[in-house]
Symmetry: C2
Subunit: 224 residues, 2 copies
């Protein structure tokens, strides 16, 4: 019923505009009464972005309970998956909403504001995780924005694919890229270094150590 | 006059609320007529976020004319400085606006929407610069979000400092951090590599190559 009401509403919004559509018309189109509508949604706007409040609360709770030893960016990644699942669960509604938010600036602005709420929750979590580190607040703000951007990018790709893309897998890969890029790249070597200012990159490779070292040596000489 | 009107408006919004304040009251408080108000602003909302349209157009133009050989993230950084300058030019108005947007959710949402417009313009620029690269669109979305987050972080720090922080310098440093982190970290060695999956990190150091290699070797063995 919830889904049927949402679809009916989104079709009416697309046909005759958001402002011009009344709750009565939406209920009529779904073959129910006004009362039934209000059992599922608080308002017309709530139909366009249903569940965000609940999902945000879930996100806050997940982050509060996250393993403090886990990579903070990967924690955000799996939390972003929870948000993504909300869209994936109702592909038809998500696709209609996507069309609608592209056409109605007011709805677009509302969607952006709701995304920003997730981003602020993510940033707050990272600020706590990075507390006491130099530049920790900046890193938190940047990394939260990066994870949200990765989520939105994947969501958009999924919507553009008409729901065909493996969105959860794409999100995981995207967040891994982000986490790799934004990882604290100082290795144990540098942190224990004796004044030699050496910054060691994260090296992911299947090549033997000897080959890696030879290539690193070449690269270093090339850089100097 | 523009500044005086803006300040009068922001004071009234703070005192009696945004919705309850009329254009006539704002004009009265600034000692001018309604007509003068509309010579400077299109609407009440335009007072809260003045100049954004013009500044966005300027940003689009700067990016279109940017040196195609320049580091794309540093191009965004210097462009973000243009946006930052808009706030720095009128510290008193910016500070009042900051208080107001924290208190009035509708205004906050409007500000977020206007920031998102910059972010989309930034992302579009990076998509062009990264066109044809694998994962280029994702990198563009993430990097644009990261630069905007750095800008917003610095702006917030500046506002919290009551305008005392050297914001332009902080922004440059923040964007350099972001650009470093998100740089295409594949070295010439990897790109020319013969199937050996070697990813070489950017190494910034004053240490002699021999020392670096020894430490890299240790680090590699430690990672395996």
């Amino acid at each position: 019923m919830r889904s049927a009401l949402a679809l009916a509403a989104l079709e009416l919004f697309a046909e005759q505009g958001f402002e011009a559509t009344t709750v009565d018309q939406i209920a009529d189109a779904a073959g129910v009464g006004r009362r039934t509508f209000f059992r599922y949604f608080r308002s017309k706007e709530d139909v366009v972005f249903p569940g965000h409040d609940e999902r945000l609360a879930e996100v806050v709770e997940r982050l509060a309970g996250a393993d403090p030893a886990a990579d903070p960016l990967l924690v955000l990644g799996s939390t972003a998956e929870v948000v993504l699942e909300m869209y994936l669960a109702e592909p038809e509604v998500s696709l209609k909403r996507f069309e609608l938010t592209r056409e109605v600036p007011a709805l677009r602005d509302k969607e952006i504001a709701s995304i920003d709420r997730y981003q602020r929750v993510f940033a707050r979590y990272l600020r706590q995780r990075f507390a006491g580190e130099p530049g920790g607040d900046l890193r938190a703000a940047v990394a939260a924005a990066a994870v949200v951007a990765a989520h939105n990018h994947v969501l958009r790709q999924w919507l553009k694919s008409g729901g065909a893309l493996d969105a959860k897998r794409s999100l995981r890969e995207a967040v891994e890229h982000v986490a790799d890029a934004l990882a604290d790249r100082r290795s144990a070597v540098e942190r224990n270094g004796e004044g030699e200012n050496v910054v060691v990159g994260v090296v992911r490779t299947t090549a033997p150590t000897g080959v890696v070292l030879k290539q690193l040596e070449d690269a270093l000489r090339e850089l100097r």
